[in-house]
Amino acid sequence: MNIRKSYALIVAAALLAAAVSPAAIAADLTDVGYIDQAAIGALPPFQKANAEMAKYQAQLQSQAATAMKKAKSDAQRQQLYAQFQQKFADRQRTVLGPLFARAQTAIAQVSSNKSLSVVVDKRIVIYGGQNITDEVVNLVKGPGAVVPPAATPPPSEIGFVDQQQIDQLPKVKQANDDYLKFANQQKQQAEKQMAAAKTNSDRQTIAKSFQKTLGDQQDKVLKPLVDRTKNAMADVAKKKNLILVVDKNDIIYGGTDITADVQSELK
């Protein structure tokens, strides 16, 4: 009897352990959301706006071609080009701007309702998280105005960096420029060799050598900087109590921007 009781207790404890084990926690909701941006872009208003922009662009291109023919210098052509670009950008703001704003507001509202601290692109989440695509789509498609949430996103444990800004740091920019210069020189040499090569075997040898030279140079010039940047991001993340850092392009809503901190760390 005692043995049976003890066995029952152990089974109960095992069940308890299972209940509080990580597998059970997995069922909990998370404050990380994700969205399939393609689904938003496929909505009729976006499709219609894109079609309108494409038509407008064709008109502009035709006008630009006529205007360019009359231009007498490169400077004039560049000026004309800039003018047409501006026209296109203005129209884009007019046509697509309100749609993006509505989608962004819908994302903010759904995120706020679900207390999400961050919404990322579907591509970078392979498990868990809350898929809010359908709710956002319904809100965007729905009648009437979408009301922005009163609250800002809660602090998120997911940080992000704007890699483009990191690339503009003098050291990083210099390294990138140096590498590009080197790569161009190597390419020119390889082109000359290719032009003189007589067999496919010769060409493959030249190609492999070219590739190896570039790879070696990347390891020498760029890799140390990439490693340093990653370390700086990890350091900042730890200091700010963030779990992960992702690229800004993958963040759709919320998240913690640590670009400036990483820049300071790298200076």
Partner: protein
């Protein structure tokens, strides 16, 4: 006793919970977040070898198409092709004129010899006149066929060049369209950024704005106070507007830079594709030019057979046939030098034509086609590998009780790195 049993049960529970997942996923540094360095897991997948082979083949192919330098523009090629064609035609005309002159010379000498032979045989010279007439007809026919062949070539060239232009135009349009799409995507991305900023700014000042608007809606306000509130509201609007305008300025610059980059890339891609098309055109024209050349050469090979008088005796026929053969042989030997000189000129022009359209452009076309096939193979294979990794990752994450798993983050300040676990799983799946 009960306390001891409870302790035993707790220990058992701890052991059961702990033995499978030693890491506390709820620890402050993890908080249920995992991540996978996808590319590292891909490398241990059994299909990675196959993927590497495709990658190697692709890189070799892409670098094979490095040379030569960027082809000339369509207009330059058209102009230089025209010049080369003119040179070729001049060489053909020159060769034809020399050969016609030789032909006439040998024909006249043969006629004299035949006439002498007929006179010696005491037979009517009308046969010789007839031979001269036939010779003239033969020459006229040869000239007509040569002229027609050249005319046909020019018509064919016009048609092929027109096809070339249409194909290049289509490629240009297609690649430009793709660049436009990329540009629009970037513009959209920046637009989203601006919208996000606008939203953030609006949210940031929402409370203050609401407060001011509420105050302004109070009818009992005196003018001075109303102005103060209105100024404050305007200041908020202005601050937001300035911040948004700044962002738009930054975005506009970024967009312009991206567009310049896209334009350069597209032009380069168009040049590669155009070179491919020009190479095909060159090949077609070269082939047709060789046909024309062969046609002309066959026309110039010899004279028409000498026409014998109807009443000529067998001996006279034999003598005239011998004279005819002798002059034809001499003419062919003499003409051979002229034809060879023409062929050399043509060969030089062909080389210049090939250089004009880019050496190996034909090989490049084949490489591009192969590249397309390899790219598709690579994409399919990679997707297959990643799908399996994702499936395994989900299983591992569920077992560990993680709430979310990210792919290849830029950096990690905490969380659980599932990469090694997944590597083992993926390897074991295929052992």
């Amino acid at each position: 006793m009960l306390a001891r049993r409870f302790a035993v049960a707790l220990a058992a529970a701890a052991a059961l919970a702990g033995c499978s997942h030693p890491v506390d996923v709820n620890a402050p540094s993890i908080r249920g977040v995992g991540y996978v360095r996808l590319e590292e897991v891909v490398k241990v997948h059994p299909l990675y070898g196959q993927l590497s082979q495709i990658d190697d083949a692709m890189s070799a192919l892409s670098l094979q198409t490095l040379g030569p330098a960027v082809p000339k523009t369509g207009a330059q090629i058209a102009q230089e092709t025209k010049e080369l064609n003119a040179e070729l035609k001049a060489a053909q005309d020159r060769a034809n004129a020399i050969l016609r002159h030789k032909q006439a010379d040998y024909g006249a000498r043969e006629q004299t010899a035949i006439r002498a032979a007929l006179a010696a045989a005491g037979e009517a010279p009308s046969g010789a006149q007839s031979a001269q007439q036939m010779q003239n007809v033969s020459q006229a026919q040869a000239q007509q066929v040569t002229g027609q062949a050249n005319q046909d070539f020019l018509t064919y060239q016009k048609s092929v060049v027109a096809q070339d232009n249409v194909a290049v135009g289509a490629i240009d349009k297609q690649l430009s369209k793709r660049a436009d799409l990329q540009y629009r995507q970037k513009a959209t991305q920046l637009q989203e950024r601006e919208s996000q900023l606008s939203l953030e700014l609006s949210q940031q000042d929402a409370n203050k704005r609401l407060e001011l608007r509420t105050k302004l809606s109070n009818l009992a306000l005196d003018d001075a106070t109303r102005k103060t509130y209105r100024d404050q509201l305007n200041a908020i609007e202005k601050r937001e507007g300035t911040a948004l305008a700044q962002q738009r300025g930054i975005d506009a610059k970024e967009l312009a830079k991206y567009q310049a980059q896209l334009r350069s890339q597209t032009q380069s891609q168009i040049a590669v594709q155009a070179a491919k098309i020009h190479a095909q055109t060159r090949s077609k024209l070269e082939s047709r030019r060789n046909e024309v050349s062969t046609q002309i050469a066959s026309q110039l090979k010899g004279l028409a057979p000498a026409q014998l008088p109807a009443n000529a005796s067998p001996q006279t026929r034999s003598k005239i046939a011998q004279i005819d053969k002798q002059f034809k042989t001499q003419f062919q030997a003499d003409a051979k030098a002229t034809v060879e000189q023409y062929q050399q000129t043509k060969s030089d022009l062909d080389a210049r034509y090939a250089a004009l359209h880019g050496v190996d452009a034909g090989a490049g076309a084949a490489a591009n086609a192969q590249m397309g096939t390899l790219t598709k193979q690579r994409d399919d294979l990679y997707a297959k590998i990643v799908d399996q990794i994702k499936h395994e990752a989900a299983s591992v994450a569920a077992k560990r009780g993680l709430r979310v798993v990210f792919v290849s983050p830029a950096a990690a300040g905490g969380g659980i790195d599932l990469t090694d676990d997944l590597k083992k799983d993926i390897e074991s799946l295929h052992q």
